[in-house]
C-alpha cells in the first residue's frame, strides 16, 4: 500500500497539462517503453501498456501527471485477447482523462495488479476476475466478489455457457455461533455476520465483522446478493430502446432519471447525437427531482439507523418523497421506474395543463425551506444524532481519493468534485448553483452535505421551471432526429459519467458495428464508496459501523449490478 503523497505535492504533477487539455504526446514520453501502442477512445486517448509493467505506468501517471482518480476498471474478452482498461482522471479536473489499456493473452490471461497504485483497483480487479476471468498478478486477495465462491466459469467471457449446473453453499450462515474464534493467535476475537438479511444494511449486504472486545478488528463487506447481471442485460439490448429501462433499476431509490442520463450521455456521445436545448432543461429538472427523492430516502433511513426514528423523521422523509414522486409521476407516468429519457431527448413533453404542473412544482419548492428547517431541527441539531455522528466514521480525503470515492461521500471529506460542474453536461452550466462541500470527513459531514444538496437541487429546479414556463411554444423540441436503429461505428469506445445521487456513475461502451453494445460496463459510485467502509469503521464500535454504512448511502442494486 502506498498512500503517501509525493514529497512535494505541487512540484511534479503536471506533465501533459496544457491550456487545451491533456497533451498525450507528453504523457507518451513520460511512459516511455512501457507503452506498446496507442488507441483513441472517444473520451480520451488510450495507451496500450505491457501487462507486466502496469504499475510503472500507473505510478508515473499518478505521481507525475496527477491522475489521482482511478474511476473504473473495465475488463473484456476479445476474440484474440483479454483486455483490462483503467479509466483514469483527475479529481481537480475530471475532463482530463486517459485510459490505460492492458492486453493479456487468451491462453494465460494474467496482468500485473494496479492495487498498490490505486487501492480501489482491489475490488474492481476482483470483479474483472469474477465476471471475465482475468487474473491479476500480485493482487492481495484474488477471489470472486459478486458470484458465489463455488461458481463455475466466468459469465462475461466468451466461452461461458449458462447451461451448466451450479452449486451454491449456505456455509457462512450455517451457524455463526459455532465458530467464534477466527484467528488462532488472538483467541479473543469474535466473528459476527451482519446481513445479508438485516434491517440496517440497506438491502442485501453482508458485512463480515471480527470483533476484538467491542471494537471492530476487521470488517469486510461481502457483496453480490443482488447481482442481477445488469451488464449482460445491457449487452443483450439494442441501443435505441431496450437498454433504457435497465438504468432505473441500478440505483432504484427514485434516482432513475439520473441513471438514465448516464446511459443517455454515453450513448449520445458515442453515436454523435445532439440533444435539443428544451429537452436538456427538462432532463435537468427531472434529474434534480430524482436527486431530492434519493437524498430524502438517505436521510430518513439514516435517522432510522442512528437513533431509531421510525415515527418522525422517517415518516416525514417519506411524506416528502411522496410529493416528489407525484411530480415525477405526472411527468413520466411512473412512480419509481421512470424510463423517461430517450436517446436524443425525452419521451414526452411536460404534462398538460402545464400551468398545473408548474404550480405543483412551485408549491413543492416553496414548502422546501420550511421542511428543511424542520429536518435540521429534528436531525442535525439533535443531541443524540450529534453524539452518534460527529467524529465517527472518519474518512480522510487522501484515503477517499485512493478508493475512488465520489459524490456526497467525497464532498463530505472536503473533496470538491462534482461532475455537474467539472465535466458539464445538460443545462447545469447555464444555471446558478453551488457545489456543497464539508470538511468534517465524518458521518455528520456526509449527512449535512446531502441535506444542503437538496437545497441546491431545489434552486436548480426553480430556475428550470422559470425557463420552461417562458419557453416559446414553437421551439419545444423534445427529441432529436435519431435513426430507428443505431449502429455506431465498430470499435468505438467511450467512457462517460454523470453525477448521480451517490456520485460518479459512469458507463463504458464498446461498439462492434451491430445495434447492440459489445461491452457495456457500469462504473457504480456505490461500489467504490462501499470500499471505504473498513477505513471508516475499523477500531470503532459496531453501532458506529452501522452509522458509517448509513452515511455512505449505498444501494445494493448499484453495488452489485
Amino acid at each position: 500500500m502506498s498512500l503517501e503523497e509525493p514529497d512535494d505535492p505541487l512540484a511534479t504533477r503536471d506533465v501533459g497539462v496544457t491550456e487545451e487539455g491533456v497533451d498525450y504526446d507528453a504523457l507518451a514520453d513520460l511512459l516511455g517503453d512501457t507503452v506498446i501502442d496507442r488507441e483513441s477512445h472517444v473520451n480520451a486517448e488510450g495507451f496500450v501498456v505491457r501487462p507486466d509493467e502496469v504499475q510503472d505506468a500507473l505510478f508515473a501517471l499518478r505521481d507525475e501527471a496527477g491522475f489521482d482518480h482511478c474511476a473504473c476498471v473495465t475488463a473484456q474478452d476479445y476474440d484474440d485477447r483479454y483486455e483490462s482498461i483503467y479509466h483514469l482522471r483527475k479529481y481537480d479536473d475530471p475532463t482530463q482523462e486517459v485510459s490505460v489499456v492492458v492486453p493479456s493473452p487468451k491462453s494465460d490471461p494474467v496482468s500485473q495488479t494496479a492495487e498498490p497504485v490505486y487501492r480501489t483497483a482491489d475490488w474492481h480487479e476482483r470483479e474483472a476476475y469474477d465476471l471475465v476471468g482475468i487474473d491479476y498478478e500480485g493482487h492481495p486477495d484474488m477471489r470472486r466478489i459478486l458470484l458465489p465462491e463455488t461458481w463455475q466459469g466466468h459469465p462475461l467471457s466468451q466461452d461461458f455457457s449458462g447451461e451448466e449446473p451450479q452449486v451454491v453453499t449456505l456455509r457462512e450462515h450455517a451457524n455463526p455461533l459455532a465458530d467464534d474464534k477466527r484467528s488462532e493467535d488472538d483467541p479473543d476475537t469474535m466473528f459476527i455476520n451482519i446481513g445479508p438479511h438485516h434491517p440496517a444494511t440497506h438491502g442485501v449486504l453482508h458485512v463480515e465483522t471480527v470483533l476484538d472486545g467491542e471494537q471492530i478488528a476487521h470488517v469486510e463487506p461481502d457483496i453480490g446478493y443482488l447481482h442481477r447481471c445488469e451488464e449482460q442485460m445491457c449487452q443483450q439490448g439494442t441501443y435505441r430502446h431496450q437498454i433504457m429501462p435497465y438504468p432505473d433499476r441500478w440505483d432504484y431509490v427514485s434516482a432513475g432519471i439520473l441513471n438514465e442520463w448516464a446511459y443517455a450521455r454515453a450513448a449520445e456521445d458515442l453515436a454523435d447525437i445532439e440533444v435539443p436545448e428544451y429537452a436538456q432543461v427538462i432532463r435537468t429538472m427531472s434529474a434534480e427531482m430524482s436527486r431530492i427523492a434519493a437524498h430524502m430516502l438517505a436521510l430518513g433511513t439514516f435517522a432510522l439507523d442512528v437513533f431509531g426514528d421510525f415515527t418522525a423523521v422517517f415518516q416525514y422523509a417519506f411524506r416528502d418523497r411522496e410529493v416528489v414522486q407525484d411530480l415525477l409521476e405526472d411527468l413520466t407516468g411512473q412512480r419509481l421506474m421512470f424510463n423517461y429519457l430517450r436517446l436524443g431527448g425525452v419521451a414526452w413533453d411536460l404534462p398538460e395543463p402545464r400551468e398545473e404542473f408548474f404550480e405543483k412544482t412551485r408549491d413543492f419548492l416553496d414548502d422546501m425551506p420550511e421542511k428543511l428547517k424542520e429536518y435540521h431541527n429534528l436531525v442535525t441539531s439533535n443531541e443524540i444524532f450529534q453524539m452518534r455522528c460527529v467524529d465517527t466514521g472518519i474518512l480522510p480525503p487522501e484515503e477517499a481519493k485512493q478508493y475512488g470515492a465520489t459524490g456526497p461521500v467525497a464532498r463530505g471529506s472536503g473533496i470538491d468534485y462534482d461532475l455537474r460542474r467539472d465535466d458539464p453536461y445538460g443545462y447545469y452550466s447555464e444555471l446558478d448553483w453551488d457545489v456543497v462541500t464539508e470538511d468534517g470527513c465524518d458521518n455528520y459531514a456526509r449527512v449535512l452535505c446531502r441535506m444542503q444538496e437538496v437545497e441546491q437541487s431545489a434552486r436548480i429546479i426553480e430556475q428550470c421551471v422559470d425557463l420552461l414556463e417562458d419557453w416559446p411554444e414553437d421551439e419545444r423540441d423534445i427529441q432529436a432526429n435519431v435513426p430507428r436503429t443505431l449502429r455506431p461505428d465498430p470499435d468505438t469506445e467511450i467512457y462517460r459519467a454523470v453525477e448521480a445521487a451517490k456520485g460518479e456513475l459512469g458507463i463504458y461502451i464498446r461498439s462492434d458495428g451491430t445495434d447492440k453494445p459489445a461491452r457495456f460496463k457500469i462504473r457504480s459510485p456505490c461500489f467504490s464508496n462501499l470500499q471505504t467502509l473498513p477505513v471508516m469503521s475499523e477500531g470503532e464500535f459496531v453501532p458506529d459501523m452501522i452509522a458509517s454504512l448509513g452515511s455512505l448511502d449505498i444501494v445494493l442494486g448499484e453495488v452489485d449490478r
Binding site: 452449486v167 446478493y225 421506474m337
Partner: protein, 233 residues
C-alpha cells in the same frame, strides 16, 4: 350517584361530566351499530374456534422486515405515511423472522441469495404466509435471462399471493395483502408448490461431475442449493 350542587362555568352553563357530555341524550349511537343489529339482543356469538382463530390471524398480521431490491422501496412506501398498511391490520414490520407471520418478497432473487432467503423463511414460525411482490418474484421479471437470476420466488419457497408489476404500486401491494387476509380469514391455505431448489447437505447431493469437482471445497455437512439456469422453467 347524583349530586345536588351542580357546578357551573363562569358563563353560567352547567358542567357535565365528560362521560355525560360524550354520551349526550338518549342511547348512544354506538349501541345501535350494525353489529348489534346483526346479532340481535344477545351479546354472544357462536362460532367455530378454528374460524375465530382464522379471523384473528387475518386481522393482525406481523410482516417481516425484508428488503431485497427495487420493489422494497415501494414496499416501504406502503408501510409509510400516505399508504399506511397498518390501517388494514397488517402491522408494522418485525425485524426478526421469529416474530413474523408474513414475508413479502420484494425483489429479484439471485443464486447467491436464494439459500439465505430459504433460511429466513424456514426460521419463521408456522403458520406463515408469503406475498411475492413484483415481476421478479413471479418469473425473474426484466432479469429473467440473467445467468445468475432465480426465475421467481416459487422456485425456492411456496407463495400465497403474487402481486404483479415492476414495481407494483403501493395500492396494488395493499390489495394483495388484503386479499391474503381475506384468504386467511376464510381458512384457505397456501397451495403446495413444486420447489425445485431445496437446501440439502452437500453429502446428500447426487454424485455428478460438478459435485466431484467441488468435493474438496465443500464439507459434507454444508448446506447447499443447486442452481441451474437453463433447466428451471
Amino acid at each position: 350517584m347524583s349530586s345536588d350542587n351542580t357546578r357551573t362555568t363562569k358563563h353560567g352553563a352547567e358542567i357535565e361530566s365528560t362521560q355525560e357530555a360524550r354520551l349526550g341524550e338518549g342511547v348512544d349511537s354506538r349501541f345501535n351499530s350494525t353489529l348489534r343489529e346483526a346479532f340481535g339482543s344477545t351479546p354472544f356469538i357462536l362460532t367455530k374456534f378454528d374460524q375465530f382463530m382464522n379471523w384473528v390471524r387475518g386481522s393482525s398480521m406481523f410482516m417481516l422486515q425484508f428488503g431485497i431490491a427495487c420493489c422494497s422501496i415501494e414496499m416501504i412506501h406502503t408501510y409509510a405515511i400516505k399508504h399506511d398498511l397498518d390501517r388494514f391490520g397488517a402491522g408494522v414490520p418485525r425485524a426478526s423472522p421469529r416474530q413474523a407471520d408474513v414475508i413479502i418478497v420484494p425483489g429479484t432473487i439471485v443464486s447467491k441469495f436464494a439459500p439465505r432467503m430459504k433460511r429466513v423463511y424456514d426460521q419463521m414460525p408456522e403458520p406463515k404466509f408469503v406475498v411475492s411482490m413484483g415481476s421478479c418474484t413471479i418469473s425473474g421479471g426484466p432479469f429473467q435471462e440473467g445467468y445468475n437470476v432465480v426465475k421467481g420466488a416459487e422456485e425456492v419457497i411456496p407463495v400465497d399471493i403474487h402481486v404483479p408489476g415492476c414495481p407494483p404500486r403501493p395500492e396494488a401491494l395493499i390489495y394483495g395483502v388484503a386479499k391474503l387476509q381475506e384468504r386467511i380469514a376464510n381458512g384457505e391455505s397456501a397451495p403446495v408448490t413444486v420447489k425445485p431448489y431445496e437446501l440439502e447437505q452437500f453429502g446428500d447431493l447426487e454424485q455428478d461431475e460438478l459435485v466431484d469437482k467441488l468435493a474438496d471445497q465443500i464439507d459434507e455437512e454444508d448446506l447447499v442449493m443447486r442452481y441451474n439456469w437453463s433447466d428451471s422453467p
